[in-house]
Symmetry: C2
Subunit: 424 residues, 2 copies
Amino acid sequence: MATVAATPTEICVAAKEASRALARTPTSLRDAALEAIAEALETRLDDVLEANELDQDAAREAGLEPALLDRLALSPARVAEMAEGVRRIAALEDPVGEVVEGRRLLNGLDLRKVRVPLGVVAVVYEARPNVTIDCTALCLKSGNAIVLRGSSSATQSNAVLSALAAEAAVGAGLPSDVVTLVAGGGRGELEELATQAGVVDLIIPRGGEGLKAALTEVATVPVIYAASGNCHVLVDSTADLESARAIAVNAKVQRPGVCNAVETLLVHADVAAEFLPRALGDLADAGVELRVDDRSRVASGPAFAHPLGEAHESDWATEFLALVLAVKVVDSVEEAIDHINRYSSGHSEAIVTGSTSSARAFTDGVDAACVYVNASTRFTDGGEFGMGAEIGNSTQKLHARGPIGLRELCTTKYVVEGTGQVRP
Amino acid sequence: MATVAATPTEICVAAKEASRALARTPTSLRDAALEAIAEALETRLDDVLEANELDQDAAREAGLEPALLDRLALSPARVAEMAEGVRRIAALEDPVGEVVEGRRLLNGLDLRKVRVPLGVVAVVYEARPNVTIDCTALCLKSGNAIVLRGSSSATQSNAVLSALAAEAAVGAGLPSDVVTLVAGGGRGELEELATQAGVVDLIIPRGGEGLKAALTEVATVPVIYAASGNCHVLVDSTADLESARAIAVNAKVQRPGVCNAVETLLVHADVAAEFLPRALGDLADAGVELRVDDRSRVASGPAFAHPLGEAHESDWATEFLALVLAVKVVDSVEEAIDHINRYSSGHSEAIVTGSTSSARAFTDGVDAACVYVNASTRFTDGGEFGMGAEIGNSTQKLHARGPIGLRELCTTKYVVEGTGQVRP
């Protein structure tokens, strides 16, 4: 039922209709639907793997790159992980119905601002078929109908996964059409989906810059983009240098290909000669390519044993997403803040300092979604923040800034209860 | 200093720079700046009126309509009102620095989600020069730099008002360039302003549908539109009919030209014959043109003394903004909810009922920014809601839904403080 050959418009209109009833379901019913989806992943494992084999065969024939092939491939372990993920989302607190604020007004009206589902969320994504299930679970948990539009390379996998999820959801008692897959991966379908203003309430792209650019061009529906991150670590003059070294290495090396990894290390001039030789040595030992300014080169000392590249203006602005780090000496926390506000993508920024005034200047002055004092930038994550699962990270300032969790998949509604009040 | 002949791009870049410092100012400094603006309106009253006379002369020569001329005109009383409005905004609670949520994570990190200014807010507005001061006060109070772009008909008034505000703000100790007026009212300037993505953080249009359409076409900066309102009052079978009559009349008649006035009255079939003759009589006596469906006509009785027009499909979808009301009989609360979700603009919707289950069905089922039980829709307003001043009402679901007050002119930032934590 998730793969009927309806047009994107028909699918979205049906999803809107379904979302009205879904928004009024109790938490227990939505949680039961998620459990049913998790169970269906287990009982229908063979169907899922069989469909995925077909996709993999086609992808190999089409000469898909090994990295993309790996992202496409499902295994019993990966499907079990998906089921586990659905159960973790079911266990989270329901965001729907939370009273954000409320008061009795002077005229006796009782006002509450209540969290409610957005309605219909469309997710546009690339190769990974697990996104089908992850996003479905997040949307159903938050009371939203979901319209999925995957890539053509995962057609068979996505069809089976979305059908399985839709059947399980309806079997558990949710309305039909709360989970639907748009057939056809062409630009025409994307544009039709992205222009359903008033029907689709939000589009979330999960994919590369090409997908984002294609969406930006045509979308009339609100879009929240998962963000890129050009992140910084600043080592202040009062920093505990052992701790600073551990944080710099962790932020760069622990997982360099993600958006909350550090790309530029800033070091206060007062501690550069003491800090840099050992810290850069550790980073180089971990395989990091270093691109440094002149003062960092001098501070590293003549005996520095590793190659030091030259940092250019473009390096300050680059999200390497790899084992590459730009390094710069600054004369003050203020200079560092100015550098960060100029080049940062506003994702995650850290200072290592022993000074309360430096910490305050940094957290007040840096314009970013997440600002850290004495901790690695790598903690920016819905799970780490105690929000449960996340659908991505936002560097936008409106609606959602930072991890996009269940609450961010909701809007609010003012409910105002009176006893016959009229406006004088 | 607010009217230097800089390009919109130069103005926005300077405003961005200024916004960094502004965001770090204490509440007391921003409040002092607002008080200085209020005082400057009083001491420079003659300059303001003189400039406004020039605008009025030009407008009369150009043959501007009387209604627009009235909106353009300032008087000592209107300027005193503006000063009073600025002082009321100064007296409101500072939204900046409010901790929205916070917790200590398992790994010892202290996480706070803190309200911070957006940065640069651009306001694009039509004839009324008081918007220059109102919006400046709201933006400065919430820590945002403001870029103003008024209409050419108010050029002289806006130039004096924005210069006066900018000088008073700087005199009180705020950075330069936190208040600037874009000279030139052409489409080119609007487009240049609306495409400052990454510099301007939000654009708020204050004007008619033409302005909104012009912005939608070109904007790459986020826009929040003040909303139109196709609002409904539902009289349920269990309603107190006296109260229902008072609410229906108030919602239609008290100020018909605003977005929270009612446009369609829905009446449960069980009480239509009892309710409609008197309620529609009261409405007709108040000068309301009635457009009714067949069942309402029958329920009004053969002796109904006023003309009853015929309601067409298009009437259900129309925001009359005038003394016109569409009327329809429904068989159930569910039917009314379906009608509202089909035709409503999602602004303000009311039920009059004695039944808790009808009230719950309505508040859960109606998809709107504000949902009322036993009260007039006319209360949707930042002031009435206890939020202080408002810059408009939003029917969008992202970021701001309902009155747009000081909090909605802010974003949030996660501040995370640790003791050297790295991600394992």
